[in-house]
Amino acid sequence: MTTNRRDFLKTSAAVTAASLAARNGFAMPAAPAPIPAPGADRYAEDLALEALNAARDAGASYADVRIGRYHRQQINTREHQVQGVNDSESYGIGVRTIVNGSWGFAATSLMTKDAVVRVAREAARLSRAAKSVQRRPIELAPSAPVKGTWMTPVMKDPFDVPIEEKIALLLKANENALKVGKVKFVTSGLQLLKEVKTLLTTEGTNITQTFIRVGPDFNATAVGDGEFQSFAEELSPRGQGWEYVLEMDMPGNAEKWASVAAEKLTAKSVEPGRYDLILEPTNMWLTIHESIGHPTELDRAMGYEANFAGTSFLAPPEKMLGKFKYGPEFFNIQGDRTQEHSLSHCMWDDEGVPADKFLIVEKGIFKEYQTTREQASWIAPITGTKHSHGCSFADSWSNVQFQRMPNVSLLPNEKNTTMDEIIAATDRGVIIRNHGSWSIDHQRYNFQFSGQAYHEVKNGKIVGMLKDVAYQASTPVFWNSMDMLGGKASYRLEGAFNDGKGEPVQISSVSHGCPPARFKQVNIVNTGRTG
């Protein structure tokens, strides 16, 4: 049975009201449990089926249809003011086709039968146009069709929290931060996302996933005599509900965070040179992202990103897989979309491939690239892995899915090494906390990262604060210089909402977990030049 648009909108409002009532009492289980996953709405499913049929009629040997509904809320504050409250919603359909072995994709926000049929035909037309400049037909790695629903495990949907409560939390944090002498400016914010995505394919997949992500932020600026310094706390965005925002206790911690900005005003400018570098997880995640996450993307290694983000030093695959020494024996890197609370946590990717957990680097040796169904066949003869690692995602109904990074994490040391032990074992070092500026070359060799707070270590003790610090290194040398790694208790999950890749650029959310680690004799540069 088909439902018209108006009925669908009414129905979905009623469902929301019903689920709210359930959460407010009646059907609440005794122990707290995550919110159950909603299914596909029938209207969307019907449109998707229409589009699949139209794609087949237009000659597609394969087609998939994604219907996405993205609800975003953003709140920004500065000092005692709210700078912006925005609530946005985007709804639409994207159809991807293979006709005569070539890809096509078209999308529209117009959710009517006529529009989706037209879009399916447009995708087939794009496939045919691409065929004129095509060398070999697209082949997809086998993947069994899947059906079902899934939702990010959350205790409290952030969209159910009253806006007043959200604003009050941020303004209270700002107020507390401004209690710190010399701290004159403070900004804080919340980014909230709820994404409902339905995927149907001509192979029989029919899945609906609901993603919830929260991203708080906080930044304080202290002003001294002709000088200013800022400090941003690392409030890692997560695939979690409102409970995570409360856990961060922004009002309770704001004064402590803001005092770091004030303290930076009197910090000593770093003497450039070689130091043992101790990275906290709040800084190292971005170095993992840029120098391990991106170069192990197979499309980059094969030249597909050459015109934009670049290629990869991990190429050609046959010379690198199973051979390249990325780091020491205790260095293990895992790709993992099954990790709870992480940003790329899911049940299936945008091709319906089940979430995968796989070692990218094992005992220091490079082992696997990130792949999609199309890419799996490119390297199966070398790796023996015939299936996709489930890395196909699109950031919107309006963009085509392509290879995106899963959570890429550095696994902790089997020994329970602590941060204190790492500091105590260091004669002359610098500790870096939180992420600052970042830049890396287009093959992912030469990188330079800064942080938000820096401390000098002498003879096993923290002796004072530094400023103007950045570390610069070459990827293979850097990771092989790691000589101490924290244990499981020191592991933390960080991440970002804003990983850009592809043309047109798509933004992806990804987490990176790691413990703290020490790197021997890393080049520290001074960024505070004044002329």
């Binding site: 925005n86 985007s90 303004l171 030249g303 080049n523 960024t527």
Partner: protein, 461 residues
């Protein structure tokens, strides 16, 4: 003339965005649902087409239509906004109600400025029909021309690896409010970029061109340029990091100079947290901050820029001279800050109205000829800020870097990571080239600059 059409069954494939009349009708309808003191509605409507290519073939391509409606509701000094792309009456009503509800729940913002009444705008025509008509088939044909011209050039080295992207969009942006303001602007843009790499992966070249008019893009010429750069940058050798005179092609200048405009927020300068703050208070307005040969401005009506003549508040975006003969002439004032400081706010923020920097009459080849020892830079990659106090930035050279000796390009060299500030750089100019189109709304000259800080070597090709 076309038949009028319903808003809810629009998008014939040949006209996939709203006309001025349709946008006005949509805004009027949304405003009719509103009860708040002040309501502003933004409409973004457009079509985008793209064709991406790599390894000798088209890899992905797409065609997208979308229309979004943003409602900004103000109740007293409280304001909030909602955005939706569901254009049915019920959904639009919900969006208005939500914006009004969120506004009422938001705390008062003492800095809130009232909505503007009707404004006058300079007419700017940034729409070219042949760009809007660039369908999948001619895009594929253009990609084929890129491949063919690169292969023609690169024959001696074997087949070059080619990647690139052709993107086109045609759309309209409209603003209206319940105080009688209405503004509408339609535009097109097309951009074609390509990277060619030598088969042994030791040489890489790049070329890109953007315009409002597809007729200004020459796919074969772009392919030739990328291929020539790949071939002549092939097998580079490393030289020592250090301070070098550099000839920056206009594309490289376009990756540094706009960052300076981005740092020109007036409030930050007044509040002592900007490179344009004066020690002890005040700003550097009226002071010489860079070489006296430098003048740069934004102007939506400039025939080379043709940008939207208003911003999201409906404030007219006029000519803004940022730097004139090296002197800082204006900072970017929001309406609130302008009122507080007794200054004039000009619409469009930092980049509204595009950016044009003056230059000389010389070609890039002339700048090279005048260089005793230095480097020729194609463009940069991964440029990011290091220190907001000085606009200090870092990034890498990419897709062709050569040593210049005694006025001649002598050999390709390995890429560098650099650390430099556009503010310092514009104080170290030796010579300025002729301004060129770097992209849509961006016109800049090549520059020869001394003592550019190439800080460390990069192995990337």
């Amino acid at each position: 003339m076309r038949e009028p059409r319903s808003l809810f069954n629009p998008a014939p494939a040949d006209e996939p965005f709203l006309s001025s009349a349709d946008a006005k009708a949509l805004i009027t309808k949304v405003l009719s649902y509103a009860t708040a003191d002040e309501v502003r509605v933004l409409v973004n409507s457009g079509w985008a087409g793209n064709t991406r290519f790599a390894r000798g073939e088209i890899t992905t391509s797409g065609g997208i239509t979308d229309t979004t409606v943003t409602v900004i509701a103000t109740v007293g000094k409280r304001r909030a906004s909602t955005t939706t792309n569901i254009l049915e009456n019920d959904a639009l009503k919900r969006s208005v109600e939500l914006a009004e509800r969120l506004a009422k729940l938001s705390p008062e913002n003492p800095e809130l400025m009232p909505e503007l009444g009707p404004q006058k705008y300079i007419p700017v025509e940034g729409f070219v029909q042949r760009t809007a008509d660039l369908s999948p088939e001619p895009r594929a044909a253009a990609v084929k021309k890129v491949f063919d011209s690169i292969n023609e050039q690169g024959r001696s080295l074997g087949e070059l690896n080619v990647a690139g992207f052709l993107s086109v969009n045609a759309g309209a942006f409209a603003v209206g409010n319940n105080k009688g303001l209405f503004a509408y602007h339609r535009s097109t843009a097309v951009d074609l970029g390509t990277t060619a790499r030598t088969p042994d992966a030791t040489g890489s070249g790049w070329a890109e061109s953007g315009s409002r008019d597809w007729a200004n893009i020459d796919p074969a010429a772009l392919g030739r340029r990328a291929a020539q750069k790949a071939i002549s940058s092939h097998a580079p050798t490393a030289i020592e990091p250090g301070l070098y005179s550099v000839v920056l092609e206009p594309a490289a200048v376009g990756q540094l100079v706009p960052a300076l405009i981005g740092s020109m927020d007036a409030r930050s300068a007044d509040e002592g947290r900007s490179p344009f703050s004066k020690k002890g208070g005040g700003t550097k307005l009226g002071e010489k901050i860079v070489d006296e040969r430098v003048t740069m401005y934004s102007d939506p009506a400039d025939p080379d820029l043709l940008s939207q003549p208003f911003d999201g508040e409906g404030l007219p975006a006029g000519r803004k001279v940022w730097i004139e003969n090296g002197v800082l002439k204006t900072l970017n004032y929001s309406r609130f800050w302008a009122q507080k400081q007794g200054m004039q706010a000009v619409g469009g923020g930092g980049f509204g109205g595009g950016l044009k920097m003056n230059g000389g009459t010389k070609s890039t080849a002339d700048l090279i000829a005048g260089c005793e020892r230095g480097l020729l830079v194609t463009h940069f990659f991964y440029v990011n800020f290091l220190d907001p106090r000085t606009v200090m930035m870092t990034g890498l050279t990419r897709d062709g870097l050569w040593l210049i000796e005694k006025g001649k390009v002598t050999r390709p060299v390995r890429n560098f990571r650099w650390m430099e500030s556009p503010l310092f750089m514009l104080n170290k100019i030796e010579e300025m080239g002729k301004p060129e189109h770097v992209g849509v709304g961006l016109v800049l000259p090549a520059l020869r600059v001394k003592d550019f800080n190439m800080a460390s070597l990069s192995d990337a090709i």
